[in-house]
Amino acid sequence: MKTNLEKNIKEQIERRKLEVSDNAWDKLTQMMDEKPSSEKGRGGESSFAKRKLWIPVSVAASILFFFTIYLLNSNENEESIHPTNQNTEIVTNQTTVEELNENTTSETMEIVETKKEVFIHQKTELNTEKTNSKEILVKSEERKVSPKPVELSPILEQIIENTMENPKMKEQKTELALQPKLDSESNQKKNYVDPEMLLYSIENNQAVKQNNSDSRMVIIDFNK
């Protein structure tokens, strides 16, 4: 609610008209023309500032990019080193077995090879930031001698001994021994005696003769 005083003052002020100066319009047009140019100037400065800001940002981005590429390359190198070593081992083992197979075939010995796949979890620590765990398939080969009585030649015995003494095979065994389950299995395989073979040797003890007192190998003469 307005008082008299308020109403009177409002009326007086509303009715009042003041004369503007003669050059007021010229001043106004001048101000309007100046504004865009000053804005342009400010815009130029801001774009320059933006460009200045982009320099450190682009440098930082490129450093990050190269660092990422370096990391990726180092990862790939580490990945490629481990599998090739294992492949070489496997290939070597396979070659040995193949050689053995050739020899045993000539001696009419039937070797049944059962391939057992063992998963070895290999944890490859790349760096402090990243850790990869990989599953690498390693084929462990196991040989079983058939119950068929065969006479092993001294050459064959030597090959078998060499194979058993092969450091790579030992290494493989050591690797397998790391896992408790595999450890017990390998112990069982070591002491494995074919019952049929044992029975045959008992029945035909004349045909079986020990090669050496130190050696655990026996010679079975199938002609007897």
Binding site: I9, I13, R16, S21, A24, M32, K35
Partner: protein, 174 residues
């Protein structure tokens, strides 16, 4: 005046001049009621006109075009006063509003009375009386409390009453 808006949106300089000639004297009066002198009032009015012409696109034809221009003028004056601020809006809790007096202002110059008011009183008084702002709106625009706005307004009215009595006494003595 609304008929000029489409042409103004095209930044037609001829139409801009026409609008200026139509409303400049009235708007100068508005600006004069806020500023202490005519020179500053005209400066504020010209700056406000630049804003009017530049921001004509933001006018949505919802209210009156003259009212929109007036608001820009008032805001420009308030900005000017903020920049040249030499006063503080004080809030007194024990302030009691003076009883209104039914004096007529015949023979009194309203602008003279406003000019003799302290600046903080004058701004609040103008916003409340001339622009018909509520105390809440005044508080928001001046960034003061609502009670401070009420206090300033009451003080402005008291001061105005004193001035009127002084002038009447002088006139009676003569």
């Amino acid at each position: 005046m609304e008929d000029l808006v489409p042409q103004l949106k095209k930044q037609d300089r001829r139409i801009q001049k026409e609008l200026f000639e139509r409303v400049s004297s009235k708007m100068l009066g508005v600006c004069r009621s806020y500023t202490g002198d005519l020179h500053h009032a005209e400066d504020c009015m010209l700056k406000a006109f630049v804003k009017v012409f530049k921001n004509i696109e933001s006018y949505e034809s919802k209210g009156s075009f003259e009212g929109w221009i007036r608001r820009i003028m008032v805001n420009e004056c308030l900005d000017f006063l903020k920049l040249n601020k030499s006063f503080v809006y004080r809030e007194d809790s024990d302030w009691e509003e003076e009883m209104d007096f039914e004096q007529d202002l015949i023979g009194f110059d309203a602008q003279d009375l406003l000019d003799r008011l302290p600046e903080n009183y004058r701004v609040v008084f103008n916003l409340f009386v001339l622009e018909e702002y509520s105390h809440k709106e005044i508080a928001e625009s001046l960034k003061i409390s609502e009670s401070a706005s009420r206090t300033q307004f009451a003080r402005a009215k008291k001061k105005m009453k004193e001035l009127i009595f002084q002038q009447k006494n002088i006139a009676n003595e003569n």
